[in-house]
Amino acid sequence: MNAETPDRARHAHHATPGAEHGERVGVYVCHCGHNIANTVAVEEVAEWAGQQPNVIVARDYKFMCSSLGQELIEQDIQQLGLNRVVVAACSPHMHEKTFRTACQRAGLNPYLFEMANIREMGSWATDDREAATQKAKAQVKGAVDRAVRQQPLEPLYVDINPNTLVVGGGIAGLTAALELANAGYHVYLVERDSSIGGHMAKLDKTFPTLDCAACILTPKMVDVANHPNITLLTWSEVLSVHGYVGNFTVRVRKKARFINEELCTGCGTCVEKCPVRIIDQNFEVGLGYRKAVYRNFPQAVPKYPVIDTEHCTFFQRGKCRACEIVCPTDAIDFNQKDTFVDLEVGNIILATGYEQFDARRVSQYGYGRLANVFTSMEFERMVNAAGPTAGRVVLRDGVTVPRRVGIIHCVGSRDKNHHEYCSRACCMAALKFAHLVHERVPEAEVFNFYIDIRASGKHYEEFYHRVLAEGTHFIRGRVAEVTDAARGPGEEGQLIIQVEDTLIGKQRRIPVDMVILMAGMESRKDARQVAALFGLGCDYDGWFTERHAKLDPVVTMTEGILVAGACQGPKAIPESVAQGSAAAARVAGMIGQRVMKMEPVRASIDASSCSGCRICNNLCPYHAITFHEDRKVSEVITALCQGCGACVAACPSAAISGAHFTRDQVLAQIEGILWDARQPEVLWLEPQ
């Protein structure tokens, strides 16, 4: 016989029935292999639980989540007539659904199940066996006392709108939009910039295969623009989001382009004739120029330019109109106004990307002060054939070809002063740069200054070896400073990189002509506002928080809001694409269900207890609370409520109650957890 059969589940502790609530509770304490059993005396907890009021049976078992563990529960429900089930195991995020389903199979309403998390909140939090065991008992007691007060609940069903909103037209968003559109679902793609393409559109080559970025990206951009299932809204921003999974209403502002898209053919004559030339801080990262009426790059999608009113002579001084005069189709429209579009969608995929770390913040590397210190994005533009230097590697003067190039890794990343995390993509980009310098300036010497080379990806390590073989120097050590203060004749007129070479244990000063700073990725400045707008969470660094780091990386804690690409954390192209596809697959799966089952955990207001104080009125993140001026009471619209509990906690008259989290349930759980707490002494006599 298999030792894991339910029959061998040790110690079935039976308690005398005679429950104060008449409820019959089964308690199951999971070993989780060694995860819990090593720290918590699971047998002792089960035995103790068996003696608690209302508990009919208590067992411990190696893996409660296994099919055998689940069968154990189902058998007990049927044979012992249990009407409440408590499992003491891992986090409910992990297995609440598993056990709820098991209860349901055995005919028990799934909301009569309660989970005590004795792993993440117990065995993993301490090595103290006694304390962990004591805490596990308290958690079990709290769960039992709460479970006996639980009420059966029926799930709610909502129709799912098959349209999807994708926010962000970088490679992750493009991928997600195309996947869904190809599956036959309509997608609204909203992009803040005038063209889709994102950061990838600025790149020349992509590591490790050295594909031309434009060659693989622009076909996708064109597909998006031409796809019958995609409505492309560029130069647009999401203003507000209302509703809930399956039924969001999103208001988008389409900023005025001052170009009539119906008439514009994208010929570019207006751009050519525009007399205003300004430095392009956005697409060319300050390395090139653009006009006041401009497109980011010739293959921009959509092809229509935009007019930058801050620099346009007509908008500033009321004169010029050169573009209007030259436009062969009369597409220039100076009177255009921002327009607002309301979209009805069922799901939203956020693919809002990242920003490059501002290398000025690491002042010792001299960016912004020393002319020939470049950022990695500047170098990307420089080596791009369509970039400001047409692909020539030159110093800031625009003509001198560098002989010695230093590439500094981890600028702003892996640095306690800035970001502790690794930006993942920069090592490989640095290797790519080394290769490109050798390709464009064969006689140049290239130095890479690195902490560790992180080349863990398909064919990445091979690429590293290729770059090594090309003669790039690798110096292991974090650069102390980049300076133009020469200490000797050999250093004059050059940039000196001061570094401790940790492999030879010596300080070195390496003169170079050009320095490239591999600036890391950071979350967008407005990531927190965007997160608040869509109702999802951000971590400390501003990256959007996924539901589960390993098992649910593209779904957030807010139903119907998904994330893809670098807005969730630093990512290179392949991972962003994978996430874009994954998010699309998740959305397609949800649309396929047509109807969605929703947790019946909802708030409701007892109108007879509501005093109409209106404290709850503006708390609801889902705008589910409405105030009836005539009756002076507030009401929760069940269909909009997501059961977060903000209003339940806030209601000063306790008129709002949350199903499955009622006050008596929560207080019973608290009192259960405090079962062994000493009664506070309320009376002390004056010491004589």
Binding site: S609, C610, S611, I615, P652, R663, L683, E686
Partner: protein, 332 residues
């Protein structure tokens, strides 16, 4: 048939409850006519021995005001419970500790120091403190023992009814008395609230209520509130939303925030409920800020809320979930 008997007792309280009872006006004459007053130290000379001499259950209606602060209060609570058919916790002190209950934020030693030593108007040179036991020519005399923790009446003995308020509104007392005098049935006893509403005070408050966004708090002396508009919206911590109705919202109507004297709604912790509510409507720390900046902004607003314990628990501390603060007496 003998008239039903009436008693009223005054434990740890200010005496306002007795005044409020007299505020019922001429109705008091009906009470006097209908009842035989058998114990009412405030208005007539009765001794404790008189009460001890009554048979158990002799008193038909006993209104008990005041908290249980010392051994005398406790002794009388037990005595009157035994002698009364219907024991009513009358007013906030008996119901929930009220202002005497704020002593639970500190120790007796500290209270004594404040009253007899640190007070500017007290001559402390002789260091005279009340002595529990004193030797006098006639022998040894003692005063009641002061308890460290102030309790409500129902924390000492079971009570049948509770009439909340500091003091209870005369018209509410009158309504209860009329009901009793006319022999109308009262709700089932067992700590049952009578003479008050079941909904929060805002229900009967006529001020206009809008959505609340508080950017700073004010103490009553700091602003002249706009008449006609909810005081909480104006930054005055009006306890109305967490307070039982019954008084007619007298204070808010004249621009004074509700201090919460009618106590919490059924089964609630008044201070905790109001604190949660207030915290929910502070408009600071917008989502555009990082967590530290949010915390700083929120803390700055909350710093304008002076004396939170006295604001949220002015009346209900002794009867709250917390009951008292755990304090280490630094002088001991």
């Amino acid at each position: 048939m003998a008239k039903p008997t009436f008693a009223m007792y005054w434990a740890a309280s200010c005496g306002g409850c007795e005044i409020s009872l007299l505020n019922v006006g001429e109705l008091i004459l009906d009470v006097d006519a209908a009842f035989d007053v058998v114990f009412w130290p405030c208005v007539a000379d009765f001794k404790y021995q008189d009460v001890e001499g009554y048979p158990d259950g002799f008193i038909d209606l006993c209104l008990f005001n005041g908290a249980i602060r010392n051994s005398e209060n406790e002794e009388l609570a037990h005595l009157l419970r035994r002698k009364s058919k219907t024991l009513v916790a009358f007013g906030s002190c008996a119901y929930e500790g009220c202002a005497p209950g704020l002593a639970n934020l500190t120790t007796n030693a500290a209270t004594m120091r404040t009253v007899y030593t640190d007070s500017l108007t007290t001559d402390e040179t002789r260091g005279n403190l009340p002595q529990p036991v004193s030797q006098v020519p006639e022998g040894e005399i003692s005063i009641p023992v002061l308890y460290e923790t102030v309790r409500s009446l129902d924390q000492v003995v079971p009570v049948d009814y509770i009439i909340p308020g500091c003091p209870p509104e005369a018209r509410q007392i009158a309504a209860v008395l009329r009901a009793v005098l006319n022999g109308m049935p009262l709700p089932a006893p067992g700590g049952t609230i009578i003479g008050a509403g079941n909904v929060a005070l805002c229900e009967e408050c006529p001020l206009a209520k809008n959505v609340k966004q508080i950017t700073r708090f004010y103490r009553p002396y700091e602003i002249v509130p706009d008449p006609g508009i909810c005081l909480l919206e104006q930054g005055l911590v009006c306890m109305g939303p967490a307070t039982r109705s019954g008084c007619g919202a007298l204070c808010p109507q004249v621009g004074m925030r509700c201090e919460g004297c009618y106590g919490p709604l059924d089964g609630q912790d008044q201070g905790a409920r109001m604190l949660a509510a207030v915290a929910s409507v502070v408009a600071a720390g917008g989502s555009h800020l990082d967590e530290h900046a949010q915390a700083r902004e929120i803390a700055a607003v909350m710093d304008t809320l002076v004396d939170p314990a006295g604001t949220f628990y002015r009346f209900s501390l002794a009867h709250s979930l917390l009951r008292r603060a755990r304090v280490a007496d630094s002088s001991a």
